[in-house]
Amino acid sequence: MKTITIKSIIDPSRTYKYIDDGSPKQGGVKDVYFAPNRKYVVAFFRTALDFNQRDRIKRIVTLYLDNIKNGSAGDYFLQEIYRWPYDAVEQDGKTGVIVPIYDSKFFFAKGYGANAMIKGGEKVGKWFTAPSFRHQQYPLALDKSELGDWLSYFQIAINICRGIKKMHQMGLAHSDLSYNNVLIDPVSKSANIIDLDGLVVPGLYPPEVIGTADFIAPEVLKTKHLKLNDPNRILPNQKTDLHALAVLIYMYLLRRHPLRGGKIWDLDAEKDELMAMGEKALFVEHPTDRMNAVKTDQLRKWETFWGNPNKLSYTKTGPYLTDLFKRAFIDGLHNPMLRPIANEWETALLKTVDLIQPCSNPQCDEKWYVFDNSTKPICPFCGTAHKGSLPVIDLYFKFKDTVWKPEGHRLMVYHNQYLFKWHVSRKVIRNESLTAEDKNPVGYFTYYQNKWMLVNQDLQGMKDLTEQKDIPVNSMVELTDGKKILLSNEEGGRLLYITITNQ
């Protein structure tokens, strides 16, 4: 065991230390050593890098890092979303990167319910997309305390979308997005994109991998047999990232793969895989072409719920995501230009969170589900019907002085649900750039003495237009069917239109 000091190749005045105990943690292509203070790791590529690869690493730790730092919400991206390498070193001809250490929340606190075998292990996404690990009869199910609830996976997906959005804005492609390269924590609802040293700069540095099974885009697999310099060969790029992103979101929310259905294309398993994920890829929930529908009698016993689209259709993710899944897996599956971009996914996920409501069953594993626009909503996970009345709010914006138009944004009300500035004004956008002040709630909904009430905490100019009464701060208004409430009379201020269902 020895402590080794090395110099940065970017700025030789910077030095790093790592402990070499002879058995580094081995990743796919790197050996990882910890700093004595455990603030960072030094990850050495096992094989020597060529000029291009070294040049790419240098750019990642300088140009692109600075880009993120100096851009909007730089801290958020560097602390919450990425484990971005921030310096490069060399030792005995091997190149290494300095990467911040993973936050402790990304290691299992308990792991399996039955034993401590994976306690302390990394929470790679696969643990949470395979239905077996959450099936309580499975011999090695994850402890319930590790699983989070359905809402957790929305925040996780939103974080991943933001990470991809930012990368694409910088002109980069991830090129190997998969559940192996994203650590997630359903408990704190966080996600961290890791292994960022393989980023692809289109036109400048070619990708070195085609991706990970389950996430490789059809056009990449379809042209895999061609030579690298063949103009028809398609290598990972931003559009293929968008395929991987769609698959990842689908798997986090529905815990099955969107393209793994019952159709057998070839008796040879390898050829079949190549066709099913490549040339012949077909959405298992395609509404008209049922050729690849899931054969529910062939599901393993751990998958009978999540694996069965008849029990849990993708449309249960609500109207906004349904639309994007259609674009990703029907229109855009073989037409990359039509795939939704990361920003669209982020927006749809956020709008869907506003449609989510708590399950009335306190024992429900998933605890939340998306309001399905019906008058008698039922939790798709445990089958419990909603009890009591249910206010639904549609948001409107001022088009002309007397004309209000719908935003296409609906907010489900539940007891102790909060109202935020991004609901109140078109000028506040719900994204990573929100200020701390904008994240404070401005009002809340409550079921109080058998009535649904909206309490105004911080909104000047809130007014009940139906009764023509001002609603000052620290007072409340009852939500009744057909009521119109103006949230703000400033420019961009919105109006709420209330519908009460399930009466």
């Binding site: 796919g28 075998m117 994976i118 292990g121 790679v124 696969k126 643990w127 395979a130 077996s132 690990f133 499975y138 011999p139 090695l140 190997d176 998969s178 192996n180 393989g198 070619p206 990708p207 070195e208 991998v209 085609i210 991706g211 990970t212 099974a213 490789i216 895999k224 047999h225 690298l228 290598l235 057998i264 008796l267 040879d268 398993a269 390898e270 079949d272 054969k295 062939q298």
Partner: protein
């Protein structure tokens, strides 16, 4: 094999199971079957998914013949019966992986050689032969597969390294795929001698 080597083998093997159980991809797909062979051939662990697998203790007699051929024969039968073959209606199992571990040489050499072409025709994902200890003979394993690893010693360190390598071979499929054409085995650890 007795004394420390067999202890080390047992530890190494059960350690392999533990290692694989920390990999969600392996947990989700892998099934294991163990055949032991000496004078007698036993299917010590019938095909079991990784989560249901119970730790086992492999015993060896102090002396006697090594019926490697008969073990391969049993393997052929089991593959026939247990491996789900793909049909137009149902997806088949992935190609099985075969690891043959021995500290000696086949005593039923005729049967062994008879089985080899049949094993080769079975379309295994990989076949790895491991000759462990000073008395293990590499040449016979080389008839079965090109991938032969010779462990000069069978202490627990060497075996742990070997099984870690086995584990990474098993996990290959779930890793990032290169832009090149075929999946190959990960490089073996330095401590072992690979016979080519």
């Amino acid at each position: 094999m007795r004394g420390e080597p067999i202890q080390a083998l047992n530890n190494g093997f059960n350690g392999l199971i533990s290692m694989l159980r920390t990999d969600p991809q392996a947990m989700d797909s892998l099934h294991i079957s163990v055949i032991t062979f000496d004078r007698e051939v036993h299917n010590l662990v019938p095909l079991t998914d990784l989560a249901s697998f119970q730790p086992v203790e492999i015993h060896c007699p102090e002396s006697g013949p090594t019926h490697t051929g008969e073990a391969l024969e049993m393997l052929l039968k089991m593959i026939d019966n247990e491996l789900v073959k793909g049909s137009t209606e149902r997806k088949g199992d992935w190609k099985p992986l075969l690891f043959v571990f021995t500290d000696g040489k086949p005593s039923d050499i005729q049967k062994y050689r008879m089985c080899i072409p049949k094993i080769k025709a079975m379309d295994f994902g990989i076949i790895v032969g491991c000759a462990a200890g000073p008395k293990a003979e590499v040449s016979f394993l080389k008839e079965l597969t090109d991938e032969v690893v010779k462990l000069d010693t069978t202490d627990s360190n060497t075996l742990t390294t070997f099984f870690r390598w086995v584990s990474s071979s098993i996990e290959m499929g779930s890793k990032s795929q290169g832009t090149g054409e075929i999946l190959t085995l990960p490089p073996p650890p330095n401590e072992l001698n690979i016979i080519i």
